[in-house]
Symmetry: C2
Subunit: 299 residues, 2 copies
């Protein structure tokens, strides 16, 4: 009989998505960084959850403070990708019985400190015994209807941007990254964004998600991709997950306006094309290659 | 160094609660079945999450359909305990790579079917690899301000009720119970309830939670406690967790009105007393004993 290893994560998620029906209050269910739910005349509710598992998303040797911080930051990054404001958080912990109280205390301090910075209210959760440490964080927030950005709005001719250097995740950035909430709000309030996603699975894979949801293709330029100083090379930027930078697209005129502002973190890396183009990379020698999604696979 | 086993679950939760501050939109943070958050002039948002872990909350021999069903039902029961209406759900799954696709499919069908019955929208979640199966479900819902019931409102002289027979959990009820959403709404809309909790840790422990949050004591009568036909005796009803019946209190006059309706499931089992009374049980021979909280301990 087939196992989840055979089927793969993406196929399983596709299967789940297809089988689930929702009512008309659900503007967007699974398939974006957050679920988008009707709230009132001017606003949507955003909801997202992220499960971190010891051995996959962190190791027992990592600083518990940074692990706790990351558990919250990952979901904050999803709220950022929809240009929202985080509000409330539930934390479920599965903890081995032999866990030291001092470790748990540092984990919680890491959560509390980042929650405070982003005015996130930790309002509840659950605690259970487990063989390995698991942390599931659900965050919900709000976004004004006019500021909501989804993965699915990219248009031919849009310029593609990232919000910072890529490929530094392996060297430890995945535990210390800054969720780009401030940047996302700045962009949504001052520019017409057509689409946005956060880079959690690697640039190639997340750009592919965005292209698929938008029904378009893209070309990106090697020489434009900003590399983290810890990145070994282009491959780290394309395929290593957990940079948690924003990847977004906007019409050419808007892009010109953004570039003229010379705001360091925002870097154009390419352009949205017709779907038939697929995803192409132009290398430093001006050669074109088709980019495979790649990125991180859980199964 | 002290481990979580030494400290205990309740002490850890107390420590967490003390250390967390929230803004004025949080009507009730941790310490009740749900977090209660300001929504609009007439309603609150309710939020709750429950983590189920293989080996603790179910075994790999259990029917995956019922495991999935339970994962959702447990959080629905929390919404019921606050007399709310469930609306949206996020599901995070940590799954061993060797899990059979057929098992995962049945698990998801169990979730989907119960979600449909209660008009709950499954709107997102996360999927990760883990050594043992873990399922974290976050549900949020709404409740009219006038219908909200908390653990903390019990008053001296209130009559204590349960919504059904207790002690059947071990024989399998914990996988098949009906979350008492309908009953809770009926009660809140037709009676003045002072306090409510769902019985997840055992009658003795959950009644103790309610008494502590309300700052009162209670006396309950052995002969009035309805036993599930699968219960071996009173101890199962007092100390085995996961009956998921409602435990609630109302003033004497309201209690009389409820009893006159002769609605089978609702059974009076005792009375709220002054705090100095503690929690007492009157046995069939009219002897009084002090009831220890007992109930299920995760650590």
């Amino acid at each position: 009989m087939a196992t989840l290893s055979d089927l793969g994560e993406i196929a399983l998620i596709e299967r789940i998505k297809k089988s689930i029906s929702t009512d008309s209050s659900v503007v967007k269910g699974s398939g974006d960084d957050c679920a988008v739910l009707k709230l009132d005349a001017k606003r949507y509710t955003l909801a997202t959850s992220d499960l971190l598992v010891e051995g996959t998303d962190f190791t027992h040797k990592d600083d518990a403070y940074l692990v706790g911080r990351k558990a919250i930051a990952v979901s904050l990054s999803d709220i950022a990708a929809c240009a929202g404001i985080p509000r409330y958080c539930l934390v479920s912990l599965g903890v081995p019985a032999a866990t030291k109280v001092a470790f748990a205390a540092r984990l919680l301090k890491g959560m509390r400190d980042i929650a405070k910075i982003y005015r996130l209210n930790i309002v509840g959760g659950d605690l259970s015994r487990a063989r390995q440490l698991v942390i599931d964080v659900s965050i919900f927030g709000v976004v004004e209807k006019k500021n909501l950005v989804l993965r699915s709005g990219a248009r031919c001719g849009d310029i593609i941007f990232v919000s910072g250097a890529l490929g530094g995740s392996i060297s430890g950035k995945h535990l210390k990254f800054t969720p780009r909430l401030k940047e996302a709000r700045f962009l949504a309030q001052n520019f017409k964004l057509n689409s946005m996603i956060d880079i959690s699975d690697g640039l190639a894979q997340d750009l592919n998600h965005l292209l698929r949801e938008s029904g378009v293709g893209a070309v990106i330029y090697e020489e434009l991709i900003p590399l983290d100083k810890a990145a070994a090379g282009l491959c780290d930027a394309l395929y290593s997950g957990e940079d948690f930078e924003l990847l977004f697209t906007m019409p050419l005129e808007e892009a010109r306006r953004l570039i003229r502002k010379k705001m360091k973190p925002f870097r154009p890396i390419g352009e949205i094309r017709d779907k038939s183009c697929g995803l192409r990379l132009i290398d430093r020698n001006n050669r074109e290659k088709i980019l495979k999604p790649g990125g991180f696979r859980h199964f």
